[in-house]
């Protein structure tokens, strides 16, 4: 379990199409309940959630060492468009697919 550290890396948030903070909090609640640790804006986790508010995807600019990750840009997850209502579950699924 000690290896399950998740970093959520935000973009700057100038013109977001999604409520990044709220999405992150929901993910945090679900993952913490399953024993994960969550950190913000650092790349020292074992898995990174790049969380950008729009398609420009500025959060991904922090991706320097190709760590295992999921890329969220507005309502797309890993470049595939999904319904906004499914965003949190889709991201959580990507994290769990990696670890579990």
């Amino acid at each position: 379990m000690e290896n399950r550290r998740i970093s959520i890396v935000f973009c700057g948030g100038c013109n977001p199409r999604i409520d990044r903070g709220n999405v992150a909090l929901q993910i945090q609640a679900i993952l913490v309940a399953r024993g994960y640790q969550i950190g913000y804006n650092s790349l020292d986790g074992d898995f990174v959630i790049y969380m950008s508010g729009c398609t420009v995807n500025c959060a991904l600019k922090y991706n320097l060492n190709n760590q295992p990750s999921v890329v969220v840009a507005a309502t797309s997850v890993d470049a595939v468009a999904i319904d906004e209502g499914e965003l949190v579950s889709e991201i959580v699924m990507k994290v769990r697919d990696y670890f579990e």
Binding site: T55, D78, V80
Partner: protein, 484 residues
Amino acid sequence: MSLKTAQQYEESLRKLNLKVYLQGELVKNCVDHPIIRPSMNSVKMTYELAQDPQYADLMTATSHLTGKKINRFCHLHQSTEDLVKKVKMQRLLGQKTAACFQRCVGMDAINAVDSVTFEMDKKLGTTYHDRFTKFLLQMQEEDWTVDGAMTDPKGDRSLSPSKQIDPDLYVHVVEKREDGIVVCGAKAHQTGALNSHMILVMPTIAMVKEDADYAVSFVAPADAEGILYIYGRQSCDTRKLEGGDIDVGNKQFGGHEALMVFDHVFIPWENVLMCGEYEFSGALVERFAGYHRQSYGGCKVGVGDVLIGATALAADYNGAAKASHVKDKLIEMMHLNETLYACGIACSAEGYKTASGNYMIDLLLANVCKQNVTRFPYEIARLAEDVAGGLMVTMPSEKDLLNPEIGKVVEKYFRGIGAIPTEHRMRILRLIENITLGTAAVGYRTESMHGAGSPQAQRIMIARQGNLEQKKELAKVIAGIPQK
């Protein structure tokens, strides 16, 4: 081959067997036809500059498929830098031709079809993306010019494709066979159709289940059996038949559009890229239009550079260049032109990677770019006409200038400042006329209005992408209104 020379391009067109009507007559030789040839010269410039080391950085790219150097017009954008270079290349070509160089529509089409076929295959288990990639490899290898054919004649705009009185008003599948499909219909306003080796057909609107036969995309050789072209007239086009070189305004370069008719054209399955997947037609239209709205932030700016230069020369030649209002009008023209460019660059810099790996522009900014393009070239043209003076539309012909009897009269009365020959003044005024009212106005004005979608189409996209709800929330916070 990968990079054709300009001459090889011209020769390759001579081998095509296109069926073309122009002013009611069948054209035997498109390449040398005086009305068509200037448009061929514009496309030829895209080959010529790609061979020139001075322009290689913009004009060429490295194929992500083969690692070979290819013409940027055959490239799938692999980064935001590629998107920016695309716009810069288009500005450059606008500057070199002062016309539409036609090859962008195909480039925008391949970039849209790449990501949409990829996503379609992923969702539906189809195999379109592999077929498309095979086509792209060949396009890059042969350095093809590809016509991006989206706009159908559309008949009654209030009716969907399947509800039209005549089913051919939108391109559709009339027969599905074991070896391929048979299509009928037409595509209107086809830029550079006669200067293209291949056609990439795409649906023109988002569709519903009833329209499934119309949700069709494919590639075909430009001279495939059953395809007929009817050449579009341009204002002042027959001046090109007069043999002179002043009155045409731009003797060497031009653009063209044509109606492309499909009369039971057979398309083998390996060339079919969508056949009935109506739920993806909207995405294809949106992405193609997005790329093409970005394109105008380059090409129209390049033509604008020439028009601004011509306007400044007109003022130099008539002695008004130092007047403060003339200087100010030139500043305004440059400001408008650079604003268009800023939009083209901005939507490129804010681009993003699609699931297939190529890069898409920022849709909101591309639509803002095109919305400005529907306005600013008109204002730039208005200012050009202001500074040019009435002579740009009342001037005698070059035959009068060259006439031994009256040439001296023309020379005497149409001279501006003493140091500049009347002929130079006439040339510049004819160039302004060409871009604002003549053959090139097709590209600089009306295409700025309707090309890549009429203004309302951009406003719909701006409404969709503009993030209005978030703006309301921002205002509530500042105004102290409790949030939901």
